[in-house]
Subunit: 198 residues, 2 copies
Amino acid sequence: MNITADMVKELRQRTGIGVMECKEALQESQGLIDKAIEILRKKGYARAKDKMSREAGEGIITSYIHMNGKIGVLVEVNCESDFVARNEEFKELVKNIAMQIAASSPRYVSSEEIPAAEIEQEKEIIKSQLKDMKKPPEIIEKIVQGKLNKFYEEVCLLDQPYIREDKMTVRQLVSSMIAKIGENIKVKRFARFELGKS
Amino acid sequence: MNITADMVKELRQRTGIGVMECKEALQESQGLIDKAIEILRKKGYARAKDKMSREAGEGIITSYIHMNGKIGVLVEVNCESDFVARNEEFKELVKNIAMQIAASSPRYVSSEEIPAAEIEQEKEIIKSQLKDMKKPPEIIEKIVQGKLNKFYEEVCLLDQPYIREDKMTVRQLVSSMIAKIGENIKVKRFARFELGKS
């Protein structure tokens, strides 16, 4: 197996361990990075654990606590430069997104995050609801797709109508800020806790 | 299948749907609550989705944002009464726990949350590190257990040394507040986001 300089570099960035050790581990793992990290750990290079998370751009993490601590939201929004991360308009956008999450309880950032099994289950439920409807299959299919879109609007943050201006979605809100600021902006992740709900 | 009043009551609490509908759904699901909820949803009782999360006591959700938005923590701590939830000492405890999470990056509340596969992998790594050690198996076993406890101290919030007083663990900190306030207190869950780390 030919271990390239790029592979060694990636492993070094992820583990902070020397060139020779990384090269050896990669030879042993036949070039598989994750395997190589495990090999390094087994050899006692404990640091290998700490740097496994990789750099992913600039941005800001903001929280929003609602109703005296009954609802809490944490959200990370990424942008390309620290300059934008410190921009007041960007900060306000992130605050508004946090409030959106508190008010509208999305479960995912976008539909790509929904597990395939959940979408399948939802489709099945929709089809059961329609089973007595006497319409051609292509019409049924359209209705199913429409109801599925409604489901996305409910559970996906980016597809939700924006609470402060419900003619636009949160996706459109983010896009308008991208256009204004000229930097890519991405809602990376969020957590929403509500007291007494799991 | 005999559907008891308790089963109907639980399904009603979880769905907010009428007695007769719940009873029928339970008969159809042979007494399985989750199945019954799905049946109700298929019949179009959309509300069945909203109330599936159950009541779990009082408490507070607090956030802590560190380093100008580079690290953010959200934590839910439960207690038994709203009276305690509004107590200043309780609020300070929760704030300190949030700061602990920001500083010490635990991954779980307690060791019970660690997936069995992860514990197995960790044990294997420890054993590999010790494989050249010439000691009786019972001594090796003790060393493995000791290293595993170290691992828990690293990744489990309750097992971590408390940042403000490292002679006590976070578990002991919580226990001392339970003794003082006379109400059960539980760290339910937390989220910790760090910019550029997944």
